[in-house]
Symmetry: C2
Subunit: 224 residues, 2 copies
DNA sequence: GGTCCTTTTGGTCGTTCTGCCTAAAAACAG
DNA sequence: CTGTTTTTAGGCAGAACGACCAAAAGGACC
């Protein structure tokens, strides 16, 4: 059982942790990176925040260790600090949300992509963290450029639609989706076209900005 | 300079803090409770989380000390844990958002209501925390029953409109506001009417639920 | 080349939502 | 009783939304 005391003699947190919900979308499914724990439970990738380090930096550092990916979309989710959440001691965790392209391979042999909405036996309060992450990314989908984290620099609208459908967990009409996403002003055509497979070649688009920023998008009612 | 070490010998946070953005709306203005610090800066009410205490409980305990109010709407905002945010040492803070009715009086003589959107000289990173709180409450306004925290159990639509206008920082047409708020399903008529002052007496409404819950409301696009 | 199939994409149509407006209902002041 | 004020119901035009249709533009196969 970890404990700590500060220089005033009062009890202090034993450590400050970070847990990251790393999401991606593949074949219409939303996936989350999870490591396997000895007792069969799943756990989110995370680690301890070092002195002089910001929690977001910790999240990025740990993600780089687990997947080798750098330049990831990372944002803070919430703090999970209820007493007893970690059996090792008083260890608050600052949960983060991160998104990566679907071709990202885990470097850690114990880590694997599992369905984000499937029922899994999560360790600690990680089930709550995952649920919070899903709510967050769903809510932001049409109001921001979160999908930037999953999509490559240049993409056809059908690819974007697959990602949006995986996140929103619904089905969009292709024509309507194209009209609405273009209307948000979040994307712009690159001028290029791609033609792999049958069918008319699709025009490629890019996000007008790859910097994550709230409130950039517009409209689109919530799914009923 | 506060420091702490855990039982493994590694450096740990010196303490875990809570800062609360306590908001209310009065006369069309959004107000925040701030205490005055020696050097003239403003600071948010807050305190240290005790061992075995949840941060939200800490926020409620501190608010009760400062204002005497219990049964407050409190939700977690975000963690502010950048190194150097607190000159006293490594002290992450979990910021909270709280809402109270406008007749709440501060008990602490150093605490006072100040305009939430005014330019003030905030201490530490409290300016960021206030801004985050304003964004949060604005975003949730039409999608949840956050306004429950400010409005009394029973209220006329004009009162609700004043609160909504203070939060959204816009002006709503009275007729349109009534139509739209009723359409959200968040409120229901009590059957009573109130007639103070001139004009047709207003029907009184209550929230269908006073439990804070995300996603209960519907529609209403973002303000352009 | 010709035919069929596939996917993209522009447009239409009816429904719903939104912002603005008008006017009636229902109180108070003089 | 007459004017004033506030609430509240309803109308109307424009925008947004969802579903659909059809043309465009490629590949696959004969």
């Amino acid at each position: 059982m970890w404990t700590a005391r500060n220089s005033e003699g009062y009890e202090a947190p034993a450590a400050l942790a970070v847990d990251t919900v790393l999401l991606t979308a593949r074949a219409g499914d939303l996936l989350v990176l999870a490591t396997q724990i000895d007792d069969g439970h799943r756990a989110l990738p995370g680690g301890l925040v070092g002195a002089g380090e910001s929690p977001e930096d910790t999240a990025r550092r740990k993600l780089a260790e687990k997947t080798g990916v750098t330049d990831v979309y990372v944002e803070q989710l919430a703090a999970f600090a209820n007493p007893g959440r970690d059996p090792r001691g008083w260890i608050p965790s600052i949960a983060h949300l991160a998104l990566v392209p679907p071709d990202t391979k885990p470097r850690d042999p114990d880590a694997a992509w599992i369905t984000a909405r499937g029922r899994h036996r999560w360790a600690f309060d990680h089930h709550d963290i995952v649920r919070t992450a899903l709510n967050r990314v769903e809510g932001k989908l049409w109001w921001s450029n979160v999908a930037v984290g999953i999509l490559p620099a240049s993409f056809p609208l059908s690819k974007a639609r697959t990602v949006y459908e995986a996140i929103a967990h619904t089905h969009y009409d292709p024509a309507t989706f194209a009209r609405d996403l273009k209307a948000t002003g979040l994307i712009e055509p690159t001028g290029e076209t791609s033609a792999q497979g049958p069918g008319r070649p699709a025009a490629l688009y890019r996000f007008t900005t790859r910097d994550p920023s709230w409130g950039a998008g517009r409209r689109k009612r919530m799914a009923t």
